[in-house]
């Protein structure tokens, strides 16, 4: 029986299925994912999961009963390897030998980790963190007392979240970042500099502009296993000693099936503002999709956003398009990262900013960095300032601003500084 096929049992995939039911769609829905786990949340994997504070039941997105009650067939542990469609009829073949017919198709295939291409990444003690199995393996490795020294390659959100967790376990932690500053893709120099100091104060060593030549390990054991690492070698000859190496250098959107379908792919599956791909029928949402910037105050042009918020909001738009009720995707993107006792919340997209105002006190680890373009507030990084984050997110959603001239005045609550933009 044909119906809707959603490929990728991700946050976006589950939301898309839920939204179809919310919209009253009662035809069959099949959600297929290659992982063996029930669809789950990824954000905790780099935080509380690694501290062994969670069990699988804590991170699931929906209960078994919910899928059953909503007539959503979930196929786990199987992967679509071949897919084709001709107009409204399509079929997919899986690794496990299933053949799935569909008349509507959604791709929520997410992203896979970017692999580091230096010698030595095949040692057992080298980890990546993307999916549930990665997290389970890394959790075990972190709790092994023999793994005392960690080298984390990549000073982005994932790497720094893991560093913060590892420091609470008294590991020796070194972060190697190829760029000149931490989290360089996402935040300003002010925020980067703060995080550098904050992690150093918590005992993490950080090496910026690190050029890695190879990961060095011990010789293979009798069975030929390359298990233990000795350290990470830099191009100036330095060997940073390590028992465990964790690589977090970003992700690559999964576009294999989109390419098979002949869809336009350019840094992700290209979709329009309704989440519809280039064939005019297939929809895509979440980390795998490149879309017109959904943020009205953002710089136009193709945008790919890796966040829970985007996965949820874009999936809702995609669901509506799938059943012929297209809506336009517009929202204020937001994001969070918890590192040690530092809560970072980002509202808006800062791309193209020309002015930065720091409000509050970085030395007290409680401040907000406001980003402006042409005098108008476009984004903010809020560090341990949840009330300011919510005030800014609310202001941006309403098209309001906070004048740069008064933004640093902490004697006035931020909420009271929100005004109409001048000359807009």
């Amino acid at each position: 029986m044909a119906g809707t096929l959603i490929v990728g049992a991700s946050q976006a995939g589950v939301q898309l299925a839920a939204e179809l039911r919310e919209l009253g769609w009662d035809e069959p829905i099949t959600l297929i994912g290659e992982e063996s786990h029930r669809p789950y949340q990824r954000p905790p994997l780099s935080k509380r999961w690694l501290k062994s504070e969670l069990v699988p039941g804590d991170v699931i997105l929906r209960t078994h009963e919910w899928y059953a009650a909503n007539g959503i067939e979930v196929i786990a542990n199987d992967r679509v390897t071949w897919i084709a469609r001709d107009g409204d009829r399509g079929s997919a073949v899986t690794q496990g030998g299933r053949r799935l017919e569909f008349d509507r198709l959604a791709l929520t295939t997410g992203a896979s980790v970017r692999r580091l291409t230096v010698p030595g990444t095949d040692f057992h003690a080298v980890h990546y963190l993307r999916d549930g199995d990665d997290a389970i393996r890394l959790e075990h490795a972190l709790h092994d007392p023999a793994n005392r020294r960690l080298v984390i390659i990549g000073g982005g959100f994932i790497g720094l979240e893991i560093a913060a967790v590892a420091r609470t376990m008294d590991k020796e932690v070194t972060v190697l970042e190829a760029g000149p500053r931490l989290i360089g893709r996402a935040v300003s120099e002010e925020t980067s500099a703060f995080y550098l100091g904050a992690h150093q104060r918590r005992g993490t060593q950080v090496i910026l502009n690190a050029r890695i030549t190879r990961i060095i390990g011990s010789p293979p054991d009798a069975a030929g296993r390359r298990s233990h690492v000795i350290g990470v070698e830099l191009d100036d000859g330095t060997l940073v000693p390590a028992d465990l190496v964790i690589i977090g250098i970003g992700v690559i959107p999964r576009t294999e099936l989109a390419l098979q379908l002949g869809l336009r792919v350019d840094g992700g599956i290209v979709v329009d503002e309704h989440a519809i791909a280039s064939d005019g029928r297939t929809v895509a949402a979440g980390d795998c999709a490149v879309m017109p910037n959904p943020y009205p105050l953002g710089i136009g042009g193709p945008t790919r956003i890796e966040s829970v918020n985007n996965a949820l909001e874009q999936a809702k738009v995609a669901a509506a398009s799938l059943i012929g009720q297209p809506r336009t995707y517009q929202s204020v993107p937001w994001f969070w990262s918890d590192q040690a006792d530092l809560k970072l919340q980002i509202a808006g997209l800062s791309t193209g900013f020309d002015q930065v105002i720091v409000r509050g006190s970085p030395s007290e680890e409680r401040f907000t960095v406001l980003y402006y373009r042409d005098g108008r507030l476009i984004a903010a990084d809020c560090i341990n300032q949840p009330a300011e984050f919510l005030a800014i997110r609310g202001a941006l959603a309403k098209g309001l601003t906070i004048p740069a001239a008064v933004a640093a005045d902490t004697t006035v609550p931020l909420k009271q500084l929100v005004t109409e933009p001048i000359g807009v």
């Binding site: 839920a18 699931i60 997105l61 209960t63 009963e65 919910w66 918890d338 009330a387 919510l390 609310g394």
Partner: protein, 106 residues
């Protein structure tokens, strides 16, 4: 088990048998209860699981569990009231019944 009765802004109710130790937010989201979003999964980052706690339940659960929750409640989509809580911060105790009302918007 524990029971949570969610009253929605339109007056309808949903009753869910929850797992002790789970939060009122988690119990809602995993079972597809409308009116609670919980985008950040309970890490106190999004303020999209705001609820108004019924008087008798409030005696059981009390006010905000932390300054952080209190701060976040100042920025919810629908303004806070005296018995407002973020439902990710209310963990279910075994054998208890909880009554909450969800706001019009999160």
């Amino acid at each position: 088990m524990s029971t949570v009765v969610y009253t929605h802004a339109d007056g309808t109710t949903t009753t869910i048998e929850g797992r002790p130790g789970d939060s009122i937010m988690e119990t809602a989201v995993r079972n597809g209860v409308k009116g609670i979003v919980g985008e950040c999964g309970g890490s106190l980052s999004c303020a999209t699981c705001h609820v108004f706690v019924a008087a008798e339940t409030f005696e059981l659960v009390g006010g905000p569990a932390s300054d952080l929750e209190d701060d976040m409640l100042d920025g919810t989509a629908v303004d806070r009231q005296d018995r407002s809580r973020l439902s990710c911060q209310i963990k279910l105790a075994d054998g208890c019944e909880y009554h909450v009302t969800t706001p019009k918007a999160q």
